[in-house]
């Protein structure tokens, strides 16, 4: 069964057949024509576009969310604030705004695993995770995360015991969800920065766990 092939193998094997690469030139040319028209009409400032691209390519990404998670692991008072008012606790880092105006943080435990999806479009917590990856926005993930979350997790290489409750969060409104993953064993003596470096985007969407540090026990 194809679903048993580990995800990492698909990443290596598939022929880069995302549809964004099947039709490269046409949208590129249409985009260029549109931008030059909008600039000529004074509707957009190209420097503003540069600034936005730079912000999401270089500043607003999953490292933000990783810092939030690390703080919650290190500081129990912060974790309490994060789970009771996610937006306010996240704003303590200065992370706020577009697609993160109303944040809810859901906590993974040994008995509960949370998974975030947007079946209707591509809602995703930009201020803490940046822009979503292609798979998150894709039909396979959006269609299956709600009906077969365990199958989806298996495809990501995560098999959960039957007695773990899987809670899926379908982002149907302007509430944006961030998963607080479980802190892996063997990190007790690590600093906040060190544990932050372990936290991945996938773990904060809920399709992975945070792996124990290299050299430690899995």
């Amino acid at each position: 069964m194809a679903a048993t092939v580990p995800t990492s193998m698909h990443a290596q094997d598939h022929e880069h057949d995302h549809d964004h690469q099947v039709v490269p030139s046409d949208p590129a040319l249409r985009t260029k024509a549109l931008e030059s028209l909008l600039v000529e009409k004074g509707l957009v400032d190209p420097a503003a576009l540069d600034a936005l691209v730079d912000a999401y390519e270089n500043k607003i990404g999953p490292r933000n969310g990783a810092r939030v998670v690390a703080r919650a692991w290190i500081d129990p008072a912060y974790k309490k604030r994060l789970l009771s008012d996610g937006g306010a606790a996240i704003a303590e880092f200065g992370y706020a705004g577009g697609q993160g105006e109303h944040m809810v943080v859901v906590e993974n435990t040994p008995k509960v695993h949370n998974l975030v999806v947007c079946t209707l479009c591509s809602c995703y917590p930009w201020p803490v995770l940046g822009l979503p990856p292609v798979w998150y926005k894709s039909a396979p993930y959006r269609s299956r995360a709600v009906i077969d979350p365990r199958g989806v997790l298996h495809e990501f290489g995560l098999d959960l015991p039957e007695d773990v409750e899987v809670q899926v969060w379908d982002s149907t409104a302007e509430i944006r969800y961030l998963v607080l993953p479980e802190r892996p064993a063997g990190t007790e003596k690590m600093t906040e920065d060190e544990v932050a470096a372990l936290v991945t985007r996938d773990a904060m969407v809920g399709v992975a766990k945070v792996a124990a540090p290299a050299g430690g026990k899995a």
């Binding site: 964004h20 949208p27 400032d45 503003a48 936005l52 209707l120 396979p140 959006r142 149907t172």
Partner: protein
Amino acid sequence: MNGIHDMGGMHGMGLIQHEKNEPVFHEAWEGRVYAMNRALGAFGKWNIDASRHGIELLPPADYLRMSYYEKWLTRNIALLVQHGLVTREEMETSKPAPGSPKATPPLTAAAATAAAANRGGYLRPDSPAKARFKVGQHVRARNINPEGHTRLPRYARGKQGTVVRHHGIFVFPDTNAHFEGEQPQHLYSIRFTARELWGDHASPRDSVHLDMWDSYLAHA
């Protein structure tokens, strides 16, 4: 609308393509489309719900064929023409109409980063809307099939769930998308068991939570 975008629970979409070390934008034009969308939004001619509905209105075959940012590009061109910021002729010639006045971009470079950090919210706490439900109550998602925009997915319609959280009063997308006003309503997180949604083969422990506006719900 009962469109192709409403994908929750569909089969046959294939395997998830997880790409290692994926770039934020795969090609430069994708970043330009993303940024143009944000910059044009600053005109305030449309809202996020109208924008989402613009994607839903793409023909289903195009929706499945187009890449994510190609959908945005196509939608943005449609919104620009629909709201009179550019004309069809200008789109065809890629030149401003002779003698047309030059606008001032509402989003400057200096404001762009601030705009990324602050776009306002959708909470309307001062609205007089009344809450018909409270946490712990059993509810049923209504079976509605509007031709316009809605955020009530087909897979949850008619199903019973439990209110687990009250989020506050939020802009109602079903009207806002069609410029019929924000008409704010109370918004709740509703927990549906996987078995209620998908039948006896689903895990007895698992659940799906959806955020639902007051008028999507009936007392169970």
